[in-house]
Point group: C2
Chain length 406, copies 2
Amino acid sequence: MRIVQKYGGTSVGSIERIRHIAGLVAAARADGAHQLVVVVSAMGGETNRLLNLARELTPTPASREMDALVATGEQVSAALLAIELNRLGIPAYSFTGSQAGFFTDGPHSRARIRRIESSHLQRRLDRGEVPVVTGFQGVDDDGNITTLGRGGSDTSAVALAVALQADRCDIYTDVDGIFTTDPRVVPEARKLTHICYEEMLELASLGAKVLQTRSVELAMRYRMPVCLRSSFTDGAGTLVTEEESAMERAAVTGIAFHRDEAKITVRGIPDHPGIASNVLGPIAEAEINVDVIVQNVSEQGFTDMTFTVSHEDYTTTMALMRELQPSLGAREVLGDTGIGKVSLVGVGMRSHAGVARKMFETLANNDVNIQMITTSEIKITVVVEEAVIDRAVQALHAAFHLEQEG
Amino acid sequence: MRIVQKYGGTSVGSIERIRHIAGLVAAARADGAHQLVVVVSAMGGETNRLLNLARELTPTPASREMDALVATGEQVSAALLAIELNRLGIPAYSFTGSQAGFFTDGPHSRARIRRIESSHLQRRLDRGEVPVVTGFQGVDDDGNITTLGRGGSDTSAVALAVALQADRCDIYTDVDGIFTTDPRVVPEARKLTHICYEEMLELASLGAKVLQTRSVELAMRYRMPVCLRSSFTDGAGTLVTEEESAMERAAVTGIAFHRDEAKITVRGIPDHPGIASNVLGPIAEAEINVDVIVQNVSEQGFTDMTFTVSHEDYTTTMALMRELQPSLGAREVLGDTGIGKVSLVGVGMRSHAGVARKMFETLANNDVNIQMITTSEIKITVVVEEAVIDRAVQALHAAFHLEQEG
């Protein structure tokens, strides 16, 4: 059994935590993971400490140097964990991204893994040693230290599991796994023992911040089983794998929601081809992510377009739209920051009819007014007033009996 | 003009200090150092912070991992300095020991530089860029991170200056240069504008902790001029170079002294060949450094041997000697922790007669009792009671007129 374990920042946040993690590694070895690679993040707070040092010098530090600076964070936690594993009698060796053979391309602080030259780690594994690898970082072809940006550590772990043809990648965080929805909103929310990549992707992109989209996409592409579990509590966690087609499935697996959304409506645009790109092109150029998009014909020869962005991008986007308004010939631009979205997610939807109808009925029965709707094959998303999100999620969780095992 | 500058831990000890250092680098560039390489230590206190993290886990951390851990200290200061230099419009790039091509051998935490593959830095210099290199570290042939141990950062800088065929290596610390003796003991002590490698070696090994012996030896071997100067005050510092034979020199360049010494005397050893190695061999095996050694015939067929060690090694050494006493057939073992040593240093001694006589006369006139004497070509050392060291140094400084330019 060959396993890649990954521990995030809170999991290695202190010397005591590192001691605890070393115990988990020892237990996994004793428990049949004869070949074990550990990927670590920086100790919680360390990356911010380093960023703040640089920001004391300038608000716009050179990106190559920022990567060299923050990459030390993981190097420290990897070395400390290797020290503790050695103390326990486990032959462990720390490796930086460069030493572990993570070759990247793309810009600094947002590099992407191009290949992993894993023969060195492979030899270590064959000798029964435990490589402790820094997540989040690599090296480009000119030997410059790079970092992978958001979600990079999870991506490092999954990519390494793929390169080493591991049996599984275990991602340890401070949550027990994936739940049917946020237990703070629905106390009956149930931990899922199993979820498929597609569902995980939808849940992750909808705000379930357990596992970054990037790493799920990678796991899905290479069919690498990923287990999400807690380093703070015992428990099997949630296994993310391919869809098990033989299994009878419930229509809905989980409910995701997101509060900090804003809605912008451009009304009365003369209707001709290219409106969508005229409206959305400049937003994309400004590197603003647009989420839900709906376009309707409003009256003869005119159309309305409504889309959502995150709260933090609202002011910039509104300014941009008002600037564009004359050239678009639009009648008016309206904004609303008091909205959010609720999504039902489940691969079972494909084979279950009536999920959408049941969703809309449930919301109507609970006085939830739907402002926008979008659907995909395995997801139905509604945009609603922010104040009613909790009520909507609770009603849907009950209506689809998510508290019960599918 | 190609110059390697090195800044120690206090010189880069805070964000403000790093800003200041960047200013010094900019000034040196403006002042004709068209090709400039900067070598940095970890920010003052950072190495201890990292060591303490490891010690919380175990008193005996794996040495390979300790090297990986503490090497991050220099990486942080190099990146921060490069960030600040970039902010000033100077094209600067940080390099770890590995990236800069420092290949080492020998054990972890005490590695030695075997070669520097400097072609990469060379190209950077040719393009007018400023490489900022981490001192104190390198990489072995298996790609493991190594550290050079004590005095490693100075050695990194001198070795890099040699590899790059620099015109000079400037070592910045928190002192203004080399003085004729410690100004805290002799207020008239004068800063030397020039000193030769041999004198610097004797002064360094005698406790003038400005520049580590290892780096002086390296500079001497390759005739690399080294300038010792302060990063806190302006001033030309002290230039360490080859002896300028044409120059008329004073007999004595400086006075070094060392307080924390202990003296051990083994009395009445039956006199036959091999006594010195019988006594000193086991001490060397215990990795204790013996400093002054004197052997005398005491009476017919018996000999006495006296040597000094540092205070911290006294207890271990005494225990070792008492253990050896029976097999040596020695009459007694005596110890004294209340001693120190005073040394006159100067290449001019070679051509000036009477330096020793004048030294002993001066000490006698000032009631300083000499317990041991050793001499080399450019140094006379006396071991005296610790309490009289200041008086001895002051009297000698005045007698040899060291407050006046030679």
